[in-house]
Protein backbone atom coordinates (compact mmCIF):
# COMPACT_ATOMS: atom_id res chain seq x y z
CA UNK A 1 0.00 0.00 0.00
CA UNK A 2 1.29 3.44 -0.85
CA UNK A 3 2.72 5.52 1.99
CA UNK A 4 0.24 8.31 1.37
CA UNK A 5 -2.67 5.95 2.14
CA UNK A 6 -1.07 4.86 5.41
CA UNK A 7 -1.48 8.27 6.91
CA UNK A 8 -5.24 7.94 6.47
CA UNK A 9 -5.61 4.83 8.63
CA UNK A 10 -8.45 5.26 11.10
CA UNK A 11 -8.46 3.50 14.45
CA UNK A 12 -10.59 0.47 15.31
CA UNK A 13 -13.93 1.18 16.99
CA UNK A 14 -15.22 -2.37 17.37
CA UNK A 15 -13.44 -5.35 18.79
CA UNK A 16 -15.09 -8.71 18.26
CA UNK A 17 -13.56 -11.29 20.58
CA UNK A 18 -14.45 -14.79 19.49
CA UNK A 19 -13.58 -16.45 22.76
CA UNK A 20 -14.01 -20.05 21.66
CA UNK A 21 -15.17 -22.14 18.72
CA UNK A 22 -16.81 -24.63 21.11
CA UNK A 23 -20.58 -24.54 20.99
CA UNK A 24 -23.30 -26.91 22.13
CA UNK A 25 -25.45 -25.82 19.18
CA UNK A 26 -25.06 -27.01 15.60
CA UNK A 27 -26.67 -24.26 13.49
CA UNK A 28 -26.13 -25.02 9.80
CA UNK A 29 -25.53 -21.31 9.01
CA UNK A 30 -22.82 -20.74 11.61
CA UNK A 31 -20.32 -18.05 10.62
CA UNK A 32 -17.40 -19.93 12.16
CA UNK A 33 -14.92 -21.47 9.72
CA UNK A 34 -15.83 -24.91 8.43
CA UNK A 35 -12.52 -26.31 9.70
CA UNK A 36 -13.03 -24.95 13.26
CA UNK A 37 -12.45 -28.40 14.79
CA UNK A 38 -8.81 -28.29 13.70
CA UNK A 39 -8.19 -24.86 15.19
CA UNK A 40 -7.05 -25.42 18.74
CA UNK A 41 -4.94 -23.62 21.26
CA UNK A 42 -7.31 -20.95 22.59
CA UNK A 43 -5.90 -17.73 23.98
CA UNK A 44 -5.37 -17.62 27.73
CA UNK A 45 -7.08 -15.21 30.07
CA UNK A 46 -4.02 -12.97 30.21
CA UNK A 47 -3.79 -12.92 26.39
CA UNK A 48 -7.37 -11.63 26.20
CA UNK A 49 -6.84 -9.05 28.94
CA UNK A 50 -3.81 -7.73 27.05
CA UNK A 51 -5.72 -7.62 23.74
CA UNK A 52 -8.62 -5.74 25.35
CA UNK A 53 -6.25 -3.16 26.83
CA UNK A 54 -4.30 -2.68 23.60
CA UNK A 55 -7.40 -2.30 21.41
CA UNK A 56 -8.99 0.09 23.90
CA UNK A 57 -5.87 2.24 23.89
CA UNK A 58 -6.33 2.58 20.12
CA UNK A 59 -9.92 3.73 20.55
CA UNK A 60 -12.01 0.54 20.27
CA UNK A 61 -15.12 1.12 22.38
CA UNK A 62 -17.65 -1.53 21.42
CA UNK A 63 -16.62 -5.00 22.53
CA UNK A 64 -18.44 -8.12 21.33
CA UNK A 65 -17.88 -11.32 23.28
CA UNK A 66 -18.84 -14.07 20.94
CA UNK A 67 -17.83 -17.54 19.80
CA UNK A 68 -18.87 -20.38 19.42
CA UNK A 69 -20.62 -20.04 22.73
CA UNK A 70 -18.76 -17.55 24.94
CA UNK A 71 -20.41 -18.91 28.12
CA UNK A 72 -18.17 -21.95 27.77
CA UNK A 73 -15.15 -19.85 28.78
CA UNK A 74 -14.82 -20.23 32.57
CA UNK A 75 -13.04 -16.85 32.73
CA UNK A 76 -15.90 -14.92 31.12
CA UNK A 77 -16.61 -12.81 34.22
CA UNK A 78 -12.93 -11.95 34.59
CA UNK A 79 -12.86 -10.74 30.99
CA UNK A 80 -16.07 -8.71 31.45
CA UNK A 81 -14.72 -7.10 34.61
CA UNK A 82 -11.56 -6.01 32.82
CA UNK A 83 -13.57 -4.67 29.88
CA UNK A 84 -15.71 -2.61 32.27
CA UNK A 85 -12.63 -1.18 33.95
CA UNK A 86 -11.45 -0.07 30.52
CA UNK A 87 -14.86 1.55 29.83
CA UNK A 88 -15.79 -0.66 26.89
CA UNK A 89 -19.45 -1.13 26.09
CA UNK A 90 -19.57 -4.90 26.42
CA UNK A 91 -21.96 -7.03 24.38
CA UNK A 92 -22.38 -10.73 25.15
CA UNK A 93 -23.53 -12.61 22.07
CA UNK A 94 -24.90 -15.94 23.24
CA UNK A 95 -27.19 -18.80 22.34
CA UNK A 96 -28.36 -18.69 25.96
CA UNK A 97 -27.38 -22.33 26.30
CA UNK A 98 -25.81 -22.86 29.70
CA UNK A 99 -26.99 -19.48 31.01
CA UNK A 100 -28.47 -19.39 34.51
CA UNK A 101 -29.93 -16.60 36.63
CA UNK A 102 -26.87 -16.83 38.86
CA UNK A 103 -24.58 -16.29 35.87
CA UNK A 104 -26.67 -13.35 34.66
CA UNK A 105 -26.28 -11.69 38.05
CA UNK A 106 -22.57 -12.48 38.21
CA UNK A 107 -22.00 -10.91 34.79
CA UNK A 108 -24.10 -7.89 35.71
CA UNK A 109 -22.01 -7.36 38.80
CA UNK A 110 -18.85 -7.69 36.67
CA UNK A 111 -20.14 -4.84 34.50
CA UNK A 112 -21.64 -6.47 31.41
CA UNK A 113 -23.73 -3.96 29.44
CA UNK A 114 -25.93 -6.13 27.29
CA UNK A 115 -26.88 -9.67 26.38
CA UNK A 116 -27.97 -10.71 22.93
CA UNK A 117 -29.82 -14.01 22.85
CA UNK A 118 -30.30 -15.87 19.60
CA UNK A 119 -33.41 -17.86 18.89
CA UNK A 120 -33.56 -20.01 15.76
CA UNK A 121 -37.33 -19.97 15.26
CA UNK A 122 -40.48 -18.95 17.18
CA UNK A 123 -41.58 -22.54 16.94
CA UNK A 124 -40.08 -25.16 19.28
CA UNK A 125 -39.67 -28.02 16.83
CA UNK A 126 -37.88 -25.95 14.20
CA UNK A 127 -35.79 -24.08 16.77
CA UNK A 128 -34.55 -27.32 18.30
CA UNK A 129 -34.03 -28.92 14.92
CA UNK A 130 -31.95 -25.99 13.60
CA UNK A 131 -29.98 -25.65 16.81
CA UNK A 132 -29.41 -29.40 16.84
CA UNK A 133 -30.23 -29.26 20.55
CA UNK A 134 -33.37 -29.05 22.65
CA UNK A 135 -33.07 -25.43 23.69
CA UNK A 136 -36.22 -23.46 22.85
CA UNK A 137 -37.90 -23.13 26.25
CA UNK A 138 -34.61 -22.38 27.96
CA UNK A 139 -33.74 -19.64 25.46
CA UNK A 140 -37.08 -17.93 26.09
CA UNK A 141 -36.49 -18.19 29.83
CA UNK A 142 -33.03 -16.63 29.42
CA UNK A 143 -34.53 -13.78 27.39
CA UNK A 144 -36.97 -13.10 30.26
CA UNK A 145 -34.20 -13.19 32.85
CA UNK A 146 -32.05 -10.79 30.81
CA UNK A 147 -34.95 -8.36 30.83
CA UNK A 148 -35.71 -8.95 34.51
CA UNK A 149 -32.18 -7.97 35.52
CA UNK A 150 -32.22 -4.65 33.73
CA UNK A 151 -30.13 -5.38 30.67
CA UNK A 152 -31.22 -4.06 27.30
CA UNK A 153 -32.64 -7.20 25.72
CA UNK A 154 -31.63 -7.96 22.19
CA UNK A 155 -33.14 -10.89 20.42
CA UNK A 156 -31.39 -12.15 17.33
CA UNK A 157 -33.02 -14.37 14.76
CA UNK A 158 -31.09 -15.50 11.71
CA UNK A 159 -33.42 -15.64 8.72
CA UNK A 160 -33.28 -18.22 5.93
CA UNK A 161 -35.57 -20.40 3.86
CA UNK A 162 -36.48 -22.72 6.73
CA UNK A 163 -37.93 -19.93 8.91
CA UNK A 164 -38.58 -16.95 6.64
CA UNK A 165 -42.29 -17.79 6.43
CA UNK A 166 -42.46 -17.30 10.21
CA UNK A 167 -41.58 -13.59 10.10
CA UNK A 168 -44.85 -12.52 11.70
CA UNK A 169 -44.48 -15.07 14.52
CA UNK A 170 -40.86 -14.00 15.06
CA UNK A 171 -41.97 -10.41 15.57
CA UNK A 172 -44.83 -11.45 17.86
CA UNK A 173 -42.41 -13.54 19.91
CA UNK A 174 -40.08 -10.55 20.28
CA UNK A 175 -43.02 -8.44 21.50
CA UNK A 176 -44.12 -11.15 23.94
CA UNK A 177 -40.60 -11.38 25.37
CA UNK A 178 -40.33 -7.60 25.69
CA UNK A 179 -37.27 -7.27 23.47
CA UNK A 180 -35.78 -3.77 23.33
CA UNK A 181 -34.04 -4.62 20.06
CA UNK A 182 -34.74 -7.27 17.49
CA UNK A 183 -32.05 -8.20 15.03
CA UNK A 184 -33.47 -9.88 11.95
CA UNK A 185 -30.29 -11.09 10.34
CA UNK A 186 -30.72 -12.51 6.90
CA UNK A 187 -28.15 -15.25 6.51
CA UNK A 188 -24.89 -14.12 4.99
CA UNK A 189 -23.43 -16.93 2.94
CA UNK A 190 -20.03 -17.63 4.46
CA UNK A 191 -18.67 -20.56 6.44
CA UNK A 192 -21.33 -23.18 7.12
CA UNK A 193 -24.01 -21.10 5.46
CA UNK A 194 -22.04 -21.16 2.22
CA UNK A 195 -21.93 -24.93 2.46
CA UNK A 196 -25.70 -25.15 3.01
CA UNK A 197 -26.70 -22.34 0.69
CA UNK A 198 -29.00 -24.43 -1.50
CA UNK A 199 -31.04 -25.33 1.58
CA UNK A 200 -30.97 -21.86 3.17
CA UNK A 201 -31.25 -19.20 0.49
CA UNK A 202 -34.87 -18.02 0.18
CA UNK A 203 -36.44 -17.05 -3.11
CA UNK A 204 -36.84 -13.39 -4.04
CA UNK A 205 -40.60 -13.67 -3.46
CA UNK A 206 -40.02 -15.02 0.05
CA UNK A 207 -37.58 -12.21 0.82
CA UNK A 208 -39.92 -9.50 -0.38
CA UNK A 209 -42.89 -10.85 1.52
CA UNK A 210 -40.92 -11.20 4.76
CA UNK A 211 -39.34 -7.79 4.41
CA UNK A 212 -42.75 -6.16 3.95
CA UNK A 213 -43.96 -7.81 7.18
CA UNK A 214 -40.85 -6.64 9.06
CA UNK A 215 -41.16 -3.08 7.74
CA UNK A 216 -44.82 -2.97 8.80
CA UNK A 217 -43.88 -3.91 12.37
CA UNK A 218 -40.95 -1.49 12.35
CA UNK A 219 -43.41 1.34 11.85
CA UNK A 220 -45.85 -0.02 14.42
CA UNK A 221 -43.19 -0.58 17.10
CA UNK A 222 -41.42 2.76 16.70
CA UNK A 223 -40.26 3.99 20.10
CA UNK A 224 -40.91 0.58 21.72
CA UNK A 225 -38.63 -1.84 19.97
CA UNK A 226 -35.80 -1.13 17.58
CA UNK A 227 -35.64 -3.50 14.66
CA UNK A 228 -32.35 -4.02 12.88
CA UNK A 229 -32.97 -5.62 9.52
CA UNK A 230 -29.81 -7.05 8.01
CA UNK A 231 -30.44 -7.16 4.28
CA UNK A 232 -29.80 -10.20 2.15
CA UNK A 233 -27.45 -8.90 -0.48
CA UNK A 234 -28.05 -11.65 -3.05
CA UNK A 235 -31.13 -9.72 -4.18
CA UNK A 236 -29.48 -6.31 -4.26
CA UNK A 237 -27.73 -4.81 -7.26
CA UNK A 238 -25.06 -3.01 -5.29
CA UNK A 239 -22.81 -4.68 -2.74
CA UNK A 240 -22.82 -3.94 0.99
CA UNK A 241 -20.14 -1.62 2.36
CA UNK A 242 -18.60 -4.65 4.01
CA UNK A 243 -17.10 -3.94 7.45
CA UNK A 244 -17.45 -0.22 6.67
CA UNK A 245 -14.30 -0.73 4.59
CA UNK A 246 -11.43 -3.13 5.23
CA UNK A 247 -9.32 -2.20 8.25
CA UNK A 248 -11.21 1.00 9.02
CA UNK A 249 -13.45 0.11 11.97
CA UNK A 250 -13.64 -3.60 12.81
CA UNK A 251 -11.14 -5.92 14.40
CA UNK A 252 -11.94 -9.56 15.05
CA UNK A 253 -9.76 -11.80 17.17
CA UNK A 254 -10.37 -15.52 16.65
CA UNK A 255 -10.12 -18.01 19.55
CA UNK A 256 -6.52 -18.89 18.67
CA UNK A 257 -5.45 -15.24 18.55
CA UNK A 258 -5.60 -14.78 14.78
CA UNK A 259 -6.48 -11.16 14.02
CA UNK A 260 -8.98 -10.72 11.20
CA UNK A 261 -10.31 -7.64 9.36
CA UNK A 262 -13.68 -9.44 9.34
CA UNK A 263 -14.80 -12.64 11.02
CA UNK A 264 -14.91 -14.55 7.72
CA UNK A 265 -11.51 -13.42 6.43
CA UNK A 266 -9.96 -16.69 7.58
CA UNK A 267 -11.49 -18.23 4.48
CA UNK A 268 -9.34 -16.08 2.20
CA UNK A 269 -6.36 -18.07 0.94
CA UNK A 270 -2.88 -16.70 1.51
CA UNK A 271 -4.07 -13.68 3.47
CA UNK A 272 -1.46 -14.41 6.11
CA UNK A 273 -3.35 -13.03 9.11
CA UNK A 274 -1.25 -11.97 12.08
CA UNK A 275 -1.64 -13.34 15.61
CA UNK A 276 -1.92 -11.38 18.85
CA UNK A 277 0.50 -13.81 20.47
CA UNK A 278 3.25 -12.50 18.20
CA UNK A 279 2.26 -8.88 17.53
CA UNK A 280 0.62 -6.04 19.41
CA UNK A 281 -2.84 -4.92 18.32
CA UNK A 282 -1.38 -1.62 17.19
CA UNK A 283 1.26 -3.29 14.98
CA UNK A 284 -1.36 -5.60 13.56
CA UNK A 285 -3.75 -2.77 12.78
CA UNK A 286 -1.22 -0.34 11.36
CA UNK A 287 1.52 -2.46 9.84
CA UNK A 288 0.42 -6.02 9.09
CA UNK A 289 0.14 -7.07 5.48
CA UNK A 290 -3.34 -8.53 5.97
CA UNK A 291 -4.89 -5.35 7.43
CA UNK A 292 -3.35 -3.20 4.70
CA UNK A 293 -4.18 -5.50 1.82
CA UNK A 294 -7.59 -4.03 0.94
CA UNK A 295 -7.33 -0.64 2.61
CA UNK A 296 -8.13 2.32 0.45
CA UNK A 297 -8.68 1.92 -3.29
CA UNK A 298 -5.22 1.04 -4.66
CA UNK A 299 -5.93 -2.72 -4.73
CA UNK A 300 -9.06 -2.40 -6.88
CA UNK A 301 -9.51 -3.72 -10.37
CA UNK A 302 -12.09 -2.52 -12.85
CA UNK A 303 -15.01 -1.93 -12.72
CA UNK A 304 -14.41 -0.70 -9.14
CA UNK A 305 -11.27 1.31 -9.77
CA UNK A 306 -12.96 3.97 -11.90
CA UNK A 307 -16.38 3.70 -10.26
CA UNK A 308 -17.66 6.76 -8.38
CA UNK A 309 -19.50 4.48 -5.94
CA UNK A 310 -16.29 2.92 -4.64
CA UNK A 311 -16.22 5.44 -1.81
CA UNK A 312 -19.63 4.18 -0.69
CA UNK A 313 -19.28 0.40 -0.90
CA UNK A 314 -15.48 -0.14 -1.02
CA UNK A 315 -15.94 -2.79 -3.71
CA UNK A 316 -18.18 -4.88 -1.45
CA UNK A 317 -17.12 -7.98 0.37
CA UNK A 318 -13.76 -9.68 -0.22
CA UNK A 319 -14.97 -13.00 1.13
CA UNK A 320 -17.99 -12.99 -1.17
CA UNK A 321 -15.77 -12.11 -4.13
CA UNK A 322 -13.57 -15.08 -3.27
CA UNK A 323 -16.35 -17.56 -2.58
CA UNK A 324 -18.33 -16.74 -5.72
CA UNK A 325 -15.61 -15.84 -8.23
CA UNK A 326 -12.51 -17.58 -6.87
CA UNK A 327 -10.56 -14.31 -6.70
CA UNK A 328 -10.72 -12.10 -3.60
CA UNK A 329 -9.52 -9.05 -5.55
CA UNK A 330 -12.55 -9.09 -7.86
CA UNK A 331 -15.53 -6.79 -7.52
CA UNK A 332 -18.14 -8.33 -5.23
CA UNK A 333 -20.33 -10.16 -7.78
CA UNK A 334 -23.47 -8.86 -6.06
CA UNK A 335 -22.77 -5.65 -7.99
CA UNK A 336 -24.66 -5.55 -11.28
CA UNK A 337 -21.57 -3.90 -12.82
CA UNK A 338 -19.45 -6.97 -12.02
CA UNK A 339 -18.59 -8.99 -15.14
CA UNK A 340 -19.30 -12.04 -12.96
CA UNK A 341 -22.66 -10.87 -11.64
CA UNK A 342 -24.23 -14.02 -13.11
CA UNK A 343 -22.58 -16.05 -10.33
CA UNK A 344 -25.15 -14.62 -7.91
CA UNK A 345 -27.93 -15.46 -10.30
CA UNK A 346 -26.56 -19.01 -10.56
CA UNK A 347 -26.57 -19.35 -6.77
CA UNK A 348 -30.16 -18.15 -6.60
CA UNK A 349 -31.23 -20.51 -9.39
CA UNK A 350 -29.49 -23.44 -7.80
CA UNK A 351 -31.22 -22.80 -4.46
CA UNK A 352 -34.58 -22.44 -6.16
CA UNK A 353 -34.08 -25.74 -7.97
CA UNK A 354 -33.25 -27.38 -4.64
CA UNK A 355 -36.53 -26.06 -3.19
CA UNK A 356 -38.55 -27.25 -6.12
CA UNK A 357 -37.21 -30.76 -5.96
CA UNK A 358 -37.81 -30.72 -2.19
CA UNK A 359 -34.35 -30.07 -0.75
CA UNK A 360 -32.73 -33.23 -2.08
CA UNK A 361 -29.55 -32.72 -0.04
CA UNK A 362 -29.76 -32.78 3.76
CA UNK A 363 -28.15 -29.85 5.58
CA UNK A 364 -24.69 -30.27 7.02
CA UNK A 365 -24.86 -29.31 10.69
CA UNK A 366 -22.01 -27.46 12.32
CA UNK A 367 -20.39 -29.94 14.64
CA UNK A 368 -16.96 -31.38 15.30
CA UNK A 369 -17.59 -34.59 13.37
CA UNK A 370 -18.71 -32.78 10.23
CA UNK A 371 -15.92 -30.25 10.55
CA UNK A 372 -13.33 -33.01 10.69
CA UNK A 373 -14.91 -34.98 7.83
CA UNK A 374 -15.11 -31.94 5.57
CA UNK A 375 -11.53 -31.08 6.24
CA UNK A 376 -10.13 -34.62 5.90
Amino acid sequence: MAGSERSKITNPRWLLAELTYSCPLQCPYCANPVDFADIKDELTTSDWLRVFSQARAMGAVQLGLSGGEPLIRPDLSVLVRHARTLNYYTNLITSGYGMSERKILELKEAGLDHIQVSIQSPEKTLNDQLAGTESFEHKKEVARLVKKHGYPMVLCVVIHRQNIHQMRDILEMAIELGADYLELANTQYYGWAHLNRDQLLPTREQFEKAEAVAQGYKEKLKGKMKIYYVVPDFYEDRPKACMNGWGTTFLTIAPDGTALPCHSARELPGLNCPNVRAMSVSDIWLHSEAFNKFRGFGWMKEPCRSCPEKVKDFGGCRCQAYLLTGDMTNTDPVCSLSPLHERVFEAVTSARAATEIGAAKPMVFRNVRNSKNLNA
Partner: protein, 90 residues
Amino acid sequence: MSLDAKTLLAFSPLHRLQWEQAQQRHVILYPEGMVELNTTAAEILQLCDGTRNLEGIVEELERKFETTGLIDDIRELLETALENGWIREI
Protein backbone atom coordinates in the same frame (compact mmCIF):
# COMPACT_ATOMS: atom_id res chain seq x y z
CA MET B 1 -42.49 13.96 20.24
CA SER B 2 -43.42 16.98 22.28
CA LEU B 3 -41.77 17.68 25.56
CA ASP B 4 -43.43 18.92 28.71
CA ALA B 5 -41.27 21.72 30.13
CA LYS B 6 -41.98 20.64 33.72
CA THR B 7 -41.27 16.89 33.49
CA LEU B 8 -37.99 15.71 34.98
CA LEU B 9 -35.60 14.09 32.54
CA ALA B 10 -33.19 11.24 33.16
CA PHE B 11 -30.64 9.54 31.00
CA SER B 12 -31.81 6.09 29.90
CA PRO B 13 -30.49 3.17 31.95
CA LEU B 14 -30.27 1.21 28.69
CA HIS B 15 -27.71 3.64 27.22
CA ARG B 16 -24.35 4.94 28.38
CA LEU B 17 -22.95 8.43 27.90
CA GLN B 18 -19.19 8.72 28.16
CA TRP B 19 -16.17 10.73 27.10
CA GLU B 20 -14.00 9.05 24.46
CA GLN B 21 -10.40 10.12 24.62
CA ALA B 22 -9.53 8.68 21.18
CA GLN B 23 -12.35 10.61 19.52
CA GLN B 24 -12.11 13.70 21.72
CA ARG B 25 -15.85 13.76 22.17
CA HIS B 26 -18.73 12.33 24.17
CA VAL B 27 -20.57 9.34 22.76
CA ILE B 28 -23.76 7.45 23.55
CA LEU B 29 -23.28 3.70 23.64
CA TYR B 30 -26.02 1.09 23.33
CA PRO B 31 -26.25 -2.49 22.06
CA GLU B 32 -23.94 -2.67 19.08
CA GLY B 33 -24.21 1.02 18.35
CA MET B 34 -22.71 4.40 19.06
CA VAL B 35 -23.77 8.00 18.51
CA GLU B 36 -21.07 10.66 18.44
CA LEU B 37 -22.12 13.88 20.14
CA ASN B 38 -21.03 17.44 19.54
CA THR B 39 -20.15 19.61 22.53
CA THR B 40 -23.57 21.24 22.80
CA ALA B 41 -25.50 17.96 22.72
CA ALA B 42 -23.16 16.48 25.33
CA GLU B 43 -23.64 19.50 27.63
CA ILE B 44 -27.42 19.17 27.42
CA LEU B 45 -27.62 15.40 27.84
CA GLN B 46 -25.28 15.41 30.82
CA LEU B 47 -27.82 17.56 32.63
CA CYS B 48 -30.53 14.89 32.20
CA ASP B 49 -29.78 13.44 35.62
CA GLY B 50 -33.29 13.03 36.96
CA THR B 51 -33.27 16.30 38.95
CA ARG B 52 -33.93 18.75 36.11
CA ASN B 53 -36.64 19.50 33.55
CA LEU B 54 -36.38 21.47 30.31
CA GLU B 55 -36.66 24.78 32.18
CA GLY B 56 -33.94 23.76 34.62
CA ILE B 57 -31.59 22.69 31.86
CA VAL B 58 -32.09 25.92 29.94
CA GLU B 59 -31.51 27.97 33.07
CA GLU B 60 -28.34 26.07 33.89
CA LEU B 61 -26.85 26.39 30.40
CA GLU B 62 -27.82 30.03 29.91
CA ARG B 63 -26.07 30.81 33.17
CA LYS B 64 -23.02 28.74 32.28
CA PHE B 65 -22.58 30.31 28.85
CA GLU B 66 -23.82 33.76 29.92
CA THR B 67 -26.40 33.93 27.18
CA THR B 68 -30.16 33.76 26.60
CA GLY B 69 -32.59 32.36 24.02
CA LEU B 70 -31.34 28.77 24.11
CA ILE B 71 -34.71 27.19 24.77
CA ASP B 72 -35.68 26.27 21.20
CA ASP B 73 -32.39 24.54 20.41
CA ILE B 74 -32.39 22.69 23.70
CA ARG B 75 -35.99 21.60 23.30
CA GLU B 76 -35.26 20.28 19.81
CA LEU B 77 -32.28 18.25 20.99
CA LEU B 78 -34.19 16.83 23.95
CA GLU B 79 -37.10 15.82 21.74
CA THR B 80 -34.72 13.95 19.44
CA ALA B 81 -33.13 12.32 22.47
CA LEU B 82 -36.52 11.26 23.77
CA GLU B 83 -37.53 9.85 20.42
CA ASN B 84 -34.32 7.83 20.24
CA GLY B 85 -34.72 6.56 23.78
CA TRP B 86 -31.49 8.22 25.04
CA ILE B 87 -33.43 9.95 27.79
CA ARG B 88 -36.77 9.32 29.46
CA GLU B 89 -39.37 11.37 31.33
CA ILE B 90 -39.68 10.45 34.98
